[in-house]
Amino acid sequence: MSEVVVRVSQGTADQNEERRYQVPVTPGMVVLDAIHYIQAHFAPDLAVRWNCKAAKCGSCSAEVNGKPSLMCKSRLDDFQPGEEIVVYPLRSFPRIKDLVTNVSWNYEVNKKIVPFTPRKNAQWKMYQEDMDRVQEFRKCIECFLCQNVCHVLRNHEKYEQFGGPRFFVRLAGLEMHPLDGADRLPYVKDEAGIGYCNITKCCTEVCPESIHITDNAIIPLKERVVDRYYDPLTKLFRIFSGNNK
């Protein structure tokens, strides 16, 4: 049986130590299996978050060889033979221990978003053509890999001013819900700070659910913000048509 060297970043909030482990490889093995092997054989207290091991719950996010990914979806045979595998926790959030980070900031942002609010007199008929667009956003498993990779958070630490791609995905899903009647554009612009996003698409590149975050959520929201705040013609049109949403 072949073996692979796995280096795991261990430690707490402000210490970091890389430890090396030799792990035997079985066919189809993923990085999370290697971590479990390490737990069972070398480091019983190695902290890692996971639930489904089927890429469905978004718990096991980490940075594997510098690439933000789900550990349960990163196959060992995708690496070069002999390549060392280095596993770090997400870098945009404070570490609790080992591979586990404190992602509670995301839950705080989420609370500020106005939830689904049905239109008055909604008929509760919806059509697949409308579902097709919004269901993409509902695929999000809240792995927060996009939040982790977004440079507005990662490098510029705009945690106060910016909601991050995950929440633009949620906002897009709500704004484009055929029966939703709430208006979240002021929030999108001023509090979620969509203007901070410079559409450089790193979020889209890491999304394990292949949500086209930038093209289908962020840019359409930016366009809606333009409609409301920057486009003199639509402004004029709204005044004449008396439609002020």
Binding site: G28, P44, C57, G58, M126
Partner: protein, 576 residues
């Protein structure tokens, strides 16, 4: 002694899966103070993994469908061992519960005329499963999660409850620890709802996550609640069998619902032999046993499974209707399911048994303690139909949340006893204090091997006796486990406690299985292959007996006449 923090609520919900969240929403609506605790992050509970759909007789696709047929299907699937009242409430109320989700923002797949689309599933007479591609559970969880956040209910995430506290014979609170810091926390509550899910982690091949260590069943049992039907553990017929890392991972029944075919290594659609009428869409117990038999008799695939094939369907349909299956096989097994077959075999999936509850209120036999979802027993009898779990969560989540809130409103302030808290905390700390002893991982592995080999899909007296005996040894070993490291996010430490619960539940499963000398639904005894009418009249029961457990039976609640008649006349007549 150890310090701890305290929180107080009228209703404490333990578990933030479908059942827990639905109960939370309902209790909050009743205007009482609610708190919800879960041991992973919010939104990661097992329910997110549910794929195929939620069963509700909405009759959007098949106009002939009605609650009576759903009720009959459920009872027939459960081999008539279900609690009839639960099955009735479930069939009657699930459509409204699904529509409600839509009002809260859920987005189901649609029919051409704008209604909720429903798909076929094993054991359901009509197309009945409302779904969102193959990620229905995610939609449920997100919708209710947003609802709970909107209601402003405090959510205690990554907090594991280990002990229930009582005041006299009533439940009055709970002790737990924060996973991140390892610090203890005490909740005082007038009513507690258990919604902690199932037991799969005691088995080696399972579709269940690490959370399924049967905590709720264990805590209820220890506080004196009765368990029922613990021998009925569902083995889902189609789990992945290759590669080894993903063995057991679920292949949703929706694959068969959308037209997937089962074949053995000779290319025969072997279900013809076992259930020529329903074929692939037979009930899970039967399909699982058929696959087991095919493999056992040498007609299996290379890795010990059979073939499940959707490659005759148009590739776009497969990708559209089964996107996560498509990716699961592509990413994890290098199989393109639009081109070739999947290899599948049975996997431990769902606990039909659990804590005995009152059908209308979800109250257990301990006053103030309620249970909903997979942790509860009775609703599904000897075998659960696919899609009936998600609807179970919604229907009984609501009823239980409501009843718990009403119960709390009527209760005066309760006491929690300091010595109980202290005992709980000390039990938790013991493994950290030991300087030698086995590792919890080691015992867990042994337990999984044992249950898989001896209490699996085909059972015999000899195997079960062996298992029970071995479990005693493991229990003793578990008393000596040693944990290293600090209390901060220490999975070894967490497992050390979960292990005790799992061992206890495993014993209950094995003992009930030994007691029931017949084959029925998911419980198959090779030494008692026939279904016995006598055993059809009783539920198995498990109660605490000092430090041990007492297994017995109790008579099945009797169905009223008008429901019994449904099984005689064709349903069309019943539907006015």
């Amino acid at each position: 002694m150890e310090s701890y923090e305290t929180h107080e609520h009228d209703v404490l919900v333990i578990g933030a899966g479908g059942a827990g969240l639905r109960a939370t929403v309902e209790a909050a609506v009743q205007g009482v103070s609610v708190g919800v605790v879960c041991k992973s992050l919010l939104g990661k509970a097992h329910t997110v993994m549910a794929e195929g759909g939620v069963a509700a007789a909405m009759a959007n696709v098949d106009e002939a469908d009605c609650w009576q047929t759903h009720f009959k299907d459920t009872m027939a699937g459960g081999k008539m061992l279900n609690n009839w009242r639960m099955a009735q409430l479930h069939a009657q109320q699930s459509p409204e519960r699904v529509y409600e989700l839509e009002r809260w923002g859920a987005l189901f797949d649609r029919t051409a005329d704008g209604k909720i689309l429903q798909r076929a599933f094993g054991g359901h007479t009509h197309n009945r499963l409302a779904h969102v591609g193959d990620r229905t559970g995610l939609e449920l969880i997100r919708t209710m999660q947003d609802r709970v956040v909107q209601q402003g209910v405090p959510v205690y995430m990554e907090c594991t409850i280990t002990h229930l506290l009582k005041d006299g014979d009533r439940v009055s609170g709970a002790v737990g620890y924060w996973r991140d810091t390892g610090r203890f926390v005490v909740f005082k509550a007038k009513a507690i709802v258990l919604a902690t899910g199932g037991v799969g982690k005691s088995f080696k091949v399972t579709s269940n996550s690490w959370e399924y260590t049967s905590d709720g069943i264990g805590m209820a049992f220890k506080s004196g609640a009765e368990l029922i039907d613990m021998e009925f553990l569902q083995f889902h017929p189609t789990g992945m069998v290759w590669p080894p890392g993903v063995k057991g991972l679920l292949v949703t029944e929706a694959v068969r619902g959308e037209g997937g075919l089962l074949r053995n290594n000779k290319g025969e659609r072997f279900m013809e032999k076992y259930d020529p009428k329903r074929m692939e869409l037979s009930t899970r117990d039967l399909v699982a046993r058929s696959i087991y038999t095919e493999v056992k008799e040498g007609r299996g695939s290379e890795h010990g499974g059979v073939f499940l094939d959707v490659s005759h369907l148009p590739a776009e349909t497969v990708i559209k209707k089964l996107p996560s299956m498509y990716h699961q096989f592509k990413d994890l097994a290098d199989v393109d399911i639009t081109k070739g077959p999947m290899e599948v075999g049975p996997t431990t999936h769902y606990m039909m048994g659990g804590v005995r509850v009152d059908a209308d209120t979800g109250q257990t036999t301990v006053p103030g303690l309620f249970a909903a979802g997979e942790v509860g027993g009775g609703m599904h009898g000897a075998n659960r139909l696919g899609g009936n779990s998600l609807s179970d969560l919604l229907v009984f989540g609501k009823l239980t949340g409501e009843a718990a809130a009403q119960f709390a409103k009527k209760s005066s302030k309760l006491r929690v006893r300091e010595e109980d808290i202290k005992a709980g905390i000390e039990e938790m700390l013991a493994p950290l204090a030991r300087t030698s002893g086995p590792s919890p991982y080691e015992i867990h592995e042994k337990l999984q091997e044992l249950m898989q080999s001896y209490v699996g899909i085909m059972r015999t007296e000899q195997d079960l006796k062996h298992a029970i005996e071995q479990l005693q040894t493991l229990k003793q070993e578990a008393q000596r486990v040693r944990v290293t490291g600090s209390r901060m996010y220490n999975p070894g430490w967490h497992l050390a406690y979960d292990l005790k619960t799992m061992l206890n539940t495993s014993e209950a499963i094995a003992r009930c299985a030994l007691q029931r000398t017949e084959s029925r639904g998911a419980h198959t005894r090779l030494d008692h292959p026939a279904t016995s009418p006598e055993w059809g009249k009783v539920n198995s029961t498990v109660n605490q007996d000092g430090d041990g457990m007492r297994v017995g039976t109790s008579p099945l609640p009797q169905m009223p006449e008008e429901l019994r008649q449904l099984f005689e006349e064709p349903v069309a007549a019943a539907k006015k």
